[in-house]
């Protein structure tokens, strides 16, 4: 595995923008739509099927669609490749953070009931607690999948 001067150089060469304009325009049009659906699925994870994992996968799909449609180099602004692994770590940290925040507030690990939000009764606290966890999970899943795509490209 020969190391290029800068990481992801090989990936940039391999994955240029798509030749046909239809794909380029369609992917630019579709990507935001997929992202919205992803966010919808993420936010409604409590009542309807969905949740952090599925939302993350949809967001990742949109980014990969852009990568393939508009080429690796151009889509660095959407999701810079160097950030993918650290972002995954940040997602995990959010998950662990809420857990430890509950410990700091005197309850057990991941016990949302003790969050210092007086204006919410316990059931609501639990549902919002889960929300923080879901944010972390979504972030991790999205960035990990994009990381896998980038590193596979990079050889």
């Amino acid at each position: 595995m020969i190391e290029h001067a800068r990481p992801f150089d090989l990936a940039a060469e391999r994955c240029g923008p798509s030749s046909s304009p239809i794909i380029r325009i369609a992917s630019r049009g579709l990507a935001p739509l997929i992202q919205i659906i992803g966010l919808y699925v993420f936010f409604h994870g409590h009542y309807s099927p969905g949740g952090g994992f599925q939302g993350g996968v949809l967001l990742a799909a949109s980014i990969i669609l852009l990568r393939m449609g508009l080429g690796f180099a151009n889509t660095q602004t959407v999701m810079p490749s160097g950030w993918t692994v650290p972002l995954g770590a940040v997602g995990g940290l959010i998950y662990i953070g809420t857990g430890f925040f509950a410990v700091l507030c005197g309850g057990n690990f991941l016990d949302y009931g003790v969050f210092p939000m007086p204006w919410l009764d316990p059931p609501h606290l639990h549902s919002y607690g889960i929300l923080f966890i879901e944010v972390g999970v979504t972030l991790t899943v999205m960035s990990t999948l994009v990381a896998i795509f980038d590193h596979l490209l990079d050889g």
Partner: protein
Amino acid sequence: MLEIIKGYYAYFFLVAVFCIGLFGMMVKRNLMKKVMGMSMVQSAVILFWIVSAFKEGATVTVLDPTREVENADLYLNPLPHTLMLTAIVVAVVTLGVSFALLIVIYRRYRTLEEPLLLEKMQ
């Protein structure tokens, strides 16, 4: 004999899938086929848990206003289902790691046939 099969056909199916999976892992020489066998074994176990949660005439454990809440027999046992969510994630992650290993092996040795691999490694 018939009601035995009627009552437990799910379990016979699962045993078959489990054994095929194990057989595939043990006998097949191609590494990718071993991974397929492994995933069959895992899904057989997951399905076994799901079958264990089944109750005659019960519905999915989402509050249905038409049914009362107290009578537990009307709702399926939710615990195996939730546990199997985690088990499925674990199965997926194991597949991911095994594919990563296969990619590394393929890049270095250009083959996934175990006998060829062993020769190349000598």
